[in-house]
């Protein structure tokens, strides 16, 4: 199982408001049509499952989960700090 940090995008049905978003401090959000897209650098699988569990707990509908492939040459510099989202 990969343990290196990865950049993930998660698509959720509907517009997620400030209350629910506050439970994803490591992710940045943007609207895409009537969907919410969360993007963030997640430390490892356990961080990822933490986010998924939170989506489940809040009754949000998960539409898509994607790992953005990293370009090995620029992995360090291009993702920024997880807590700032991007």
């Amino acid at each position: 199982m990969p343990t290196a940090p990865g950049l993930y995008t998660i698509r959720i049905k509907g517009r997620v408001g400030a209350t629910a978003l506050s439970s994803f401090p490591a992710m940045a959000s943007e609207m895409s049509g009537s969907e919410t897209v969360l993007t963030g650098l997640l430390e490892d699988q356990s961080a990822l499952f933490g986010v998924l569990a939170q989506i489940e707990a809040l009754g949000l509908e998960l539409l898509e989960l994607r790992l953005i492939p990293a370009r090995s040459t620029a992995r360090e510099s291009s993702y920024g700090h997880p807590s700032t989202g991007m």
Binding site: I12, K13, G14, R15, V16, G17, A18, T19, A20, S22, S23, S34, T36, E56, A57, L58, G59, L60, E61
Partner: protein, 896 residues
């Protein structure tokens, strides 16, 4: 009905004890189709309900459970949030099955907190369920919260072993990680999934109608479409719609937004609540369970109870956990949103709210919750202190596992900064038998304690002393134990301001440890005094585990306690343990071992073997050196008594190894060495036998077993005279208490005299052996020596111990002196003590008047007794009475 009429409805249901038609009272829609679906599912042994939060799983189960209690017994278990403790989970199941209305009462919880492991608890669940007269339906709700792999594996086994009349319903957000393929192959599984739980449009309409909400057909359709039949969404919508001035507009706005359904509706619902309700909801959301008192405390206002009842009646995601409706929790979805909102809008208050909750939980005995909230408030030192204060009580109540569970809430390495945590860690390590780790944590605590303020330092010193005591006891360091006890005693005496319970408990623990070490080091009179006092104290302060632990060590004979009495005490300790559900504790190994040992001394090998088996069962996992030594020694005696010298040798060697792990001198050390050397001699290992005894020294009165073994070696060397000589050391000392070594010494001497051709001295020794053996019925030494030949040398008419002699010859001829016959007797009429006295004369040639004269009673009395004896034994005449009495082992005097 909705929350508009909720107040009245709740009052009605409360006045009727909460047992009214709850589905109406709580504004729930009876989803007949769904209830029938579940009814049908229950034809199968296991039903899995798997759907995302808010799908209406719990509502369905509760509605179904309330309906069907008449026909079957429904056991409803909700898994606590993030439950990682298998034992706690199974205890919840046990308690739910027992008395559902008291499931949260701390008093009841304490009763249940015996330190059984998960497997033992599962076994209890199975037997408990099997005992129910009516069919049982075991419902486990929120199974996704069960995070213990052990518990899940145990659940898997439970499902496979449940009686076929039992039904299990597992409800979870996700498909449970349990292998169900066996049941699936047997077509014994039913599944209910999100699609089944979804509200149909017709049900949506019924729900609205039941809540007295008028909405156009288009509005109903739009609402149904927007929520996709999601139960939580619909219920939230109903709350907002009730009393809404313009329901159509609400639905239109809701349908027009693209906000996530749950969040939108929670926000709407909250906004429509009065400010005080909003405030209460937010501030109480950070606890997993609450009652009105705690809710008032957190909300900073009174009257929370009414709000909670109303919210439950409106089915607004507040669930009561007991029949009296005193405990509540929020539906997890609502709870999660409320907590997020609380942190977002009232972040400053959060630590203080955690503190208040922690204080309340601590005051009411919910220590694990208290620790959790103290940590959440960021007060790690306070959390550490809470753990330290309670870990002692957990040890006292035999719930050592709880300490480990609470410690998990702390980050790794936290004990480096907190003496209290280091202490709890040390107790935890000690319980698991990791002495070095325990010592390391204790040393850490000690070095930290030096810098603590004086009052705290004293408390720490007491806790450290009590742990050192337990450690010293474990490794048998007598002087160290005494030192720690004195330190504890002084500290109790110096500070009368201590809470009485604390000092009583400390005193109880000190007495127990002291008594144990005194037992092992042979100071039996002191042990007797301390253990009795400890047991009485434990009984007074309501610490059954401590009482059982004290009594488990009282089953050893001494100059004051006969073998029979010791055996009775051992049995009493076991009975007491069984009464409190503590019979599986390792501490009971001592009682089982002692009872087994006494049975074997009395020649009842099968009985002894039975108790030994139980001793090894409870003692195997975490056996300490001292009890392990006892069990090996007794097991070796059993083998030796049956002539299995090779197995006996292994056990005695193992006993010797356990002894070597103890720092202090163990009272049984000479017996172990003696038995080992004797067995080695029997197996022709003379050099090894000499080496075993070589250099063994000790106080003369404790060396009996060693002298006996030397005599055995001398005989094997062909020097019976030397044997007679060395045995004089034992035979010339008048016995104090049971004559364990003396009987053997007489027998060995008798055999030596036979070899020397002195039949008269041999007969004298045999008679002396019988005389010494009689009071405690010490038959075992006869099995260990060449007693048959010797007893033959002693003509029957020359002994005044004819009955005992006959019993012994029975045993030596292969009949086991077990108590099976005795047990048969207890079912019959038991002979009275005076009848037993008369009985003893029946094998003699004395006439009735002569017996009367001997007993100093009238001839008529003797006649009456004899008639009664005949009747009770089913005998026709004197000789058949004697025969029957022999079979029943009634014909040898017992000291007790």
């Amino acid at each position: 009905m909705t929350q508009v009429t909720g107040r009245d409805a709740s009052m009605t249901s409360l006045q009727k004890g909460g047992s009214t038609d709850a589905s109406v009272a709580r504004g729930l829609l009876d989803r007949e189709d769904l209830l029938r679906l579940l009814d049908r599912a229950l034809a199968k042994r296991v039903t899995v309900i798997s759907a995302s939060p808010g799908s209406g799983k719990t509502s369905l189960l509760r509605a179904w459970a309330e309906r069907s209690t008449d026909r079957r017994r429904v056991v409803f278990v909700s898994v606590d949030r993030d439950e990682q403790n298998a034992e706690r989970f199974w205890r919840t199941v046990l308690e739910a099955n027992r008395r559902p209305e008291h499931s949260l009462d701390p008093e009841t919880q304490r009763e249940l907190n015996a330190a059984l492991d998960g497997d033992q608890l599962v076994a209890r669940v199975v037997s408990q369920v099997a005992e129910q007269p009516e069919p049982v339906v075991l419902i486990i709700d929120d199974l996704h919260e069960l995070k213990s792999a052990d518990a899940l594996a145990q659940l898997e086994r439970l499902l496979a072993t449940l009686p076929s009349s039992v039904r299990a319903v597992l409800s979870s957000r996700r498909d449970p990680p349990i292998r169900l393929h066996q049941l699936r192959l047997a077509d014994e599984i039913a599944e209910i999934r999100a699609g089944d739980l979804r509200f149909t449009e017709r049900e949506t309409r019924q729900l609205l109608a039941a809540s007295e909400i008028t909405l156009s057909d288009a509005g109903v359709a739009a609402l149904h479409q927007r929520t996709e039949g999601w139960a939580a969404g619909l219920r939230l919508a109903v709350i907002s719609l009730s009393g809404h001035p313009d329901p159509e507009r609400f639905v239109a706005e809701f349908s027009g937004t693209d906000r996530a359904v749950g969040e939108y509706l929670v926000a709407e619902m909250l906004e429509r609540q009065p400010a005080e309700v909003q405030s209460m909801l937010l501030r109480t959301s950070l606890v997993d369970l609450l009652n009105s008192e705690l809710a008032d405390l957190l909300a900073g206002r009174s009257g929370s109870e009414q709000l909670l009842l109303e919210l439950e009646d409106a089915n607004a995601f507040v669930v009561s956990l007991d029949a009296q409706r005193t405990w509540f929790r929020y539906h997890q979805l609502l709870g999660d949103f409320l907590r997020l909102e609380l942190r977002r809008t009232l972040a400053d208050e959060v630590p203080d709210l955690h503190r208040r909750a922690a204080r309340w939980f601590a005051d009411h005995g919910f220590v694990v919750e208290a620790v959790r909230h103290t940590l959440a408030a960021g007060d790690r030192p306070d959390a550490a202190r809470l753990v330290a204060e309670h870990s002692f009580k957990w040890v006292l109540d035999g719930q050592a596992g709880t300490i480990g569970a609470v410690l998990q809430a702390f980050p790794e390495g936290a004990s480096a900064d907190h003496p209290d945590l280091a202490l709890a860690q040390a107790a935890n390590e000690l319980n698991q038998g990791r002495l070095e780790e325990a010592a390391a944590q204790l040393a850490l605590a000690e070095s930290q304690a030096r810098n603590a303020p004086p009052a705290r330092r004293r408390r720490l010193a007491v806790a450290i002393a009590s742990l050192r005591l337990a450690m010293a006891r474990r490794s048998g360091q007598f002087s160290e134990v005494i030192e720690q006890v004195n330190q504890l005693d002084a500290s109790i005496a110096d500070n009368p301001s201590d809470p009485i319970s604390m000092s009583s408990e400390l005193r109880g623990v000190a007495l127990l440890n002291l008594g144990i070490v005194e037992t092992w080091s042979g100071r039996l009179a002191d042990a007797e005094r301390h253990l009795s006092e400890g047991a009485t104290l434990a009984h007074t302060i309501g610490r059954p585990f401590l009482e059982v632990a004290c009594r488990a060590h009282l089953g050893f004979p001494s100059r004051l306690v006969s073998v029979a009495a010791a055996r009775e005490r051992g049995l009493h300790a076991i009975a007491l343990a069984e009464q409190h559900g503590l019979e599986d504790r390792p501490i009971l190994a001592r009682a089982f071992g002692a009872v087994a040992g006494m049975a074997i001394w009395m020649g009842e090998f099968e009985e002894g073997e039975r108790w030994l088996r139980r001793a090894w069962e409870v003692g195997q996992a975490h056996v300490e050196p001292a009890p392990a030594l006892l069990l090996h020694l007794v097991t070796g005696m059993l083998h030796a008594g049956r002539g299995q010298q090779q197995s006996a040798l292994e056990e005695f060697a193992a006993a010797e190894h356990s002894r070597s792990l103890l720092t202090g001198v163990h009272a049984l050390a000479p017996r172990i060495a003696g038995r080992l050397a004797t067995t080695q001699t029997r197996l022709g290992m003379l050099d090894e036998a000499r080496a075993t005894l070589g250099g063994f020294s000790g106080p003369h009165e404790r060396m009996g077993a060693i002298y006996n073994a030397r005599a055995v070696i001398s005989m094997a060397e062909g020097d019976p005279a030397a044997a007679v000589d060395v045995l004089r050391e034992v035979r010339d000392i008048p016995p104090v208490g049971p004559a364990f070594t003396l009987v053997e010494a007489h027998l060995l001497a008798g055999t030596a005299h036979l070899h020397l051709g002195d039949r008269s001295a041999a007969a004298g020794a045999a008679e002396a052996a019988l005389a010494a053996a009689e009071p405690d019925r010490l038959i075992f030494p006869f099995a260990m020596t060449e007693a048959a030949e010797l007893l033959d040398a002693l003509p029957r008419h020359e002994t005044s111990h004819g009955a005992l002699r006959a019993d012994i010859l029975d045993l030596l001829r292969g009949a086991d002196a077990t108590s099976t016959d005795r047990q048969r007797l207890t079912q019959q009429d038991e002979l009275s003590p005076s009848e037993l006295r008369v009985l003893r004369y029946l094998p003699t040639n004395l006439t009735r008047p002569e017996i009367a004269r001997e007993l100093d009673v009238s001839a008529n009395t003797v006649k009456t007794h004899i008639r009664s004896i005949y009747a009770k034994l089913g005998a026709r005449d004197r000789s058949s009475a004697v025969r029957r009495a022999r079979e029943l082992r009634l014909l040898s005097a017992s000291r007790s």
